[in-house]
Assembly symmetry: D3
């Protein structure tokens, strides 16, 4: 099936931290952590599979014209643009206390937000996935606030930006791929971490810890998983907390579907099972 | 507190079917079912409560200038307008088979749709509640289809209009108040009733029962409660079915909150418990 | 242990659709789908296991005197006889509307009923398993109707025949072995499919869709899994629906036990775990 | 509505133990426990309700021609006949060890079996209800053993007679009405009580406690509620234990339906809700 | 039964905040909140019940020799002594960071700790109940640390003192009786409140928020309800967190039993049902 | 890494019953069951793994100075000492009936108690594990009885010794390693086995089966798993039964943690997941 002669090829490859090689320790330090390398090698057949034997390897330079996001799965919108949208949403919050607390928490993870996924595998599990999730929820939140004016749009925005804000420190990720949970992530969890951050922000910003503002922001974060068995120590008891949970659910579930369809071969009628959707597959309808 | 002398008053009263009186059978037939009557009577004190002793009673006429919806709780938009929106949404469906099946089912309950609530007590439990629920979902569905173009907007519209279409025959209601479930409602349930109606529509419209169109419309209806324990014999396995469930949930839950806040005294910080929201009360926030 | 010399053997083998060979495409078309073939080959030892190397292969003819059911697991009663029993049970239904609806649905799957299993692996998972399950339930149903005359025997018969009637189209099976679920099976499910068929039958037979007969037949089918979490959108609310569920359960569970004991080596005290019986093994008692 | 003159009446009344009167202690001892009395009294009107003022009271004699079962709800078959059927079933057990253990346990409660209900309110909650339940299950068990000869009919009979054998001592009942559970009933429960009785019987009858017979009889009793959450410490792992559970379920559930229909007014379409049937009402069908 | 003449009596009565009277506003301010008053009045019969008509009322003075705890249910050890034990336990913590955080949190509620119950009705629902619960747990914790030296006794002590530390602000109580939950209690809950307090303490005490100490103290508090469905957003993952949960459970359950037995009449064999013990009653054994 | 030359070595090896060899039947009988053997052999390399080829094999003698417990995982206290503690606890029971029943049951398994684990893998899964579990619970029980004098210490001791007393016959174990459950273990379970043993003891010791003593001892055993879904047919309804369950839980859970930490490499921060602790890992804290 293959012409089994040797081919010289040049490939560009993403070195992950679990890269295993016979390279000397010096080499590993040169390339590690994740970076783009250019490899020259020979294609061989080993146990009926094609294999590349590396001959030369070097880090890519700007002249190679390649970008890390060409090699990892990422959100369909560029991270910079996503962060701009989030920043503008924060600026548009009318009540100062809320705005400054949200901003304080956002600044803690702004750098990581560029790359963080929204979950380990459940949904938005890719480069920039968390920021993309937040931006989409902000769009939906804005629509809901127009449709139902009794909702407080400051709280909707704040809730959307804060609800998963501690995820970049709950999980350890490289280029959008979660490799593990952090010790804090396992022992505290992103929901309580975010609640603690609001306390920290309030103290450092001089906002009264007993104020309604602090209480309701913490409530939004703590209740956003809706049920105790889904991880929320309290259940939604503010109109905006009810809205936040269902906006989150709607966006996450539809993204799971969209992501799964995109990574399923076009000629497949059914996707693989999706754990977050009662372990059901999705049918690719052709009407 | 009251000057306990007799007062002659004229009141207009809504006669419900459970009106119990000493009236002759002829009278009951005259007034029954629910209609507006004008009553002349005398206020008396009986066991320390005020009571009206009826002296004269007659049906209201146009000159009285009163309308049934002044006396029952109803959706915030007039029923006529709601039905017009739904009708236009049906007309905007591009695929003929889908449009005609949706229309067939809608015609079966068009008259009752004017008044039907969306549920016995859970949410939208008032005059025109079902139509209002559908119209709000259509708005949300339209937004989601713009935000996520991979969704088929014909199916979103069809799913929204059909998902609760059998409720007016599942429940027995008068002026938006459910008095009981019908035998069909108890033995078949609105989900399977709607599925059967799609079969009926297809046969009468000459649409192939084995076509994808029939299959997916039935799937949308059957799966819209999401979980088996919530009444859905199958779980969502189309992108539009996933969207339908969460659009339904978001609209129903927020309406529960809004309705409960509106019927709670302004000076109350907490509403009564809402069964559909984990039996939690809602906090009326004043920031 | 084996004399490792080459043996020439003649064997007859059932070609399944997942037959993988180096045969040319023409050959595959000749033999596919499942058919009986006569094979001449040589026994070899490969990696310490015996292997047959095929030398010649041809379809069996009548002269070979072999029958497909000799090679697949099948119900202990011949399919023809099972279908005769079911047909007679239908004829014995006294109420015409019920009889004709049952007959209409039965005719839809009569051909497949000959071979269909009752489930993918749960119970009666073999050639003719569904028909055998129905026949056994009819025997039990007849007994229960004699024991408890308040039960309507027309409904018991109809419920038994209709309850799983859509299974042959819910699952894709070859010679009693389910290879997958059909799209309809996944998106609609056999319970709702059967309910839709009753609607279809009523329209085509001119029976009023609003009649009690249609309603109760649909109720029997829809409620026969008893609980929502077991797939029934409504729970049994007719005496015959209660009876149907427990007759079904009693027959299915005992068949699981009987089948498992028959396929467990005689000298084994315990069978493998049975998923449908709380994942418990059965003890082969010798008193 | 009533002619409010005094009426002299003679009534026969069942004195229950919760009979409260101004009667002297001697009188109470005379009449207590439950017995039939003849009362002569006067009908009076008190707070708009009719009341009987007792003038004379005496125990009924044979000449009065009345029987206790005329005044309490009871099984449709006479208790004597039920006990005869059970006794014959025990005699028909072929294996001596099983027969003598079953007999030993039966003798412990033979007297109470005449009157014991099968449950406090769930099913067969009346005079002779337990014996009636056993007899009906024996009929069904006999049918199942004919239909499925791999079942051991000795074990089926033994399981049916023993499964609820401790109920007469688990509950405190008078004339078929349970007034409370006994201390043993609350602290040990009828399932473990029966298991202990089998141990007791074996020791007293000189049967080896380590024999298979003792083990399987205890297994039948212990597993007959099927699931841990329904009270069984082990799950059915003998073919006869699986059969026993489903025979029990089928008989109990259908009796609930039959009893409820009989105590519901003829003109009511729906019965009250039945706790043992997912709290559903039963529809009185008129085809 | 009673000689219905007027009696002049002097009684001492505890005025609760829900005291309703015709007293003037000035009077109410004089007596409110809860205080002991001496009342002189007349006993009357009203609707067949005895009633006291108040003639004179004044606050008690020291000379009256009565104490508030004579009138409310309270822990069997005096509050002062309980607080002393807790204070000593804090002092005995060897690691300074842990000691100072525990102390900071304890100081927040020291005053209320004197009277706070441990729960609304579940267990230790009386004056000083929370402090008593903590002291008993400290005794048990000390024993366990001796028995299992691999446990860190600083963390055991800290966990025991902090686990319910926010309860006095989660609930609104008067003299050990909870009248409601506070808004913070409903929207944040005592578990997350305590976690936030640890954050606050760390900032104000200059302890690194990223230190292990802060992380593990928060983990102890957050996980002490063990399961998500019991309100813990994370599950125990430190040896001391596992110990804390079971020490808490053992103490709370046994106290429920002891309290219930003490408030059940001596001659009653069975207590009322205890919600926290699977809704079971306790049997008062007399061996 | 290894000098791959042949090495003559002498090793001592524990022969388990699943030892598979080419040894003659006579040899197997000589060595079987589990015994210590001395082996002389040659180290070879086979498929890149080291392998010992046996040259000579003999049972160890006293001179070899080795003990079986050097080769299996075992409780940290010697079995003899554990049994002495248990025996003394039995002797210290003040009520004769209780003491003699406990003793009777203990004598049934005294020999096996020396080696039995407390569970297959859950906790205390090693040589002497059950006795160690009992001894630790006795220590805790003694503490609790001192702390809460309303508890009956006879019942606490009896409950602790009897609660798992049937485990040595429920499971088949060799040197503390469970290889399977016995037939009795599967069909009756250790909880009901122990209840039956109490019945047996009472009959053989001439204690009235209807006495409170028998009833409460059985209740302690039957209820010690607390919930039906955890295997207890009745729930704790004696103060001592409540205590027993939580003493058992506290000891078992902490032992799981301690055992897991001891078998996890010192440099690992996290243990493997522990099934009995909600499948969570334990964090090895270094403060």
């Amino acid at each position: 099936m293959f012409s089994r002669k040797r081919l010289f090829i040049h490939i560009v490859r993403l070195l992950q931290s679990n890269f295993k090689s016979d390279a000397s320790k010096a080499d590993i330090e040169t390339f590690y952590p994740m970076c783009l390398v250019k490899v020259q090698g020979v294609v061989q057949v080993y146990r009926e599979k094609l294999q590349v034997k590396v001959i030369r390897i070097r880090k890519t330079t700007e002249q190679d014209g390649v970008n890390i996001t060409d090699f990892v799965r990422s959100a369909p919108v560029e991270a910079d643009k996503l962060l701009t949208v989030i920043t503008k949403a924060i600026e548009s919050i009318t009540k100062d206390d809320i705005k400054s607390i949200v901003n304080f928490c956002f600044e803690k993870v702004k750098d990581k937000m560029q790359t963080s996924p929204a979950a380990k595998s459940h949904h938005h599990a890719y480069y920039g996935g968390l920021a993309y999730h937040i931006v989409r929820m902000l769009e939906l939140g804005e629509f809901i606030c127009r449709q139902r004016p009794f909702l407080n749009s400051d709280l909707i925005k704040a809730g959307i930006i804060l609800h998963d804000i501690a995820k970049p420190l709950e999980m350890i990720s490289e280029y959008g791929m979660v490799t593990d949970y952090s010790n804090q992530g396992k022992l505290i969890g992103h929901i309580s971490m975010a609640s603690n951050w609001i306390t920290e922000a309030s103290i450092k910003l001089g906002i009264d810890l007993e104020s309604s503002t602090v209480m309701v922001l913490q409530h939004l974060v703590l209740s956003h998983h809706n049920l105790a068995e889904w991880g929320s120590p309290v259940q939604p008891q503010l109109p905006e907390a009810v809205a936040l949970h269902y906006i989150d659910a709607l966006d996450a579930k539809l993204q799971m579907v969209e992501d799964m369809l995109q990574t399923t071969a076009e000629n497949e009628e059914w996707t693989a099972a999706i754990r977050g959707l009662e372990n059901k597959s999705i049918y690719r309808l052709k009407l």
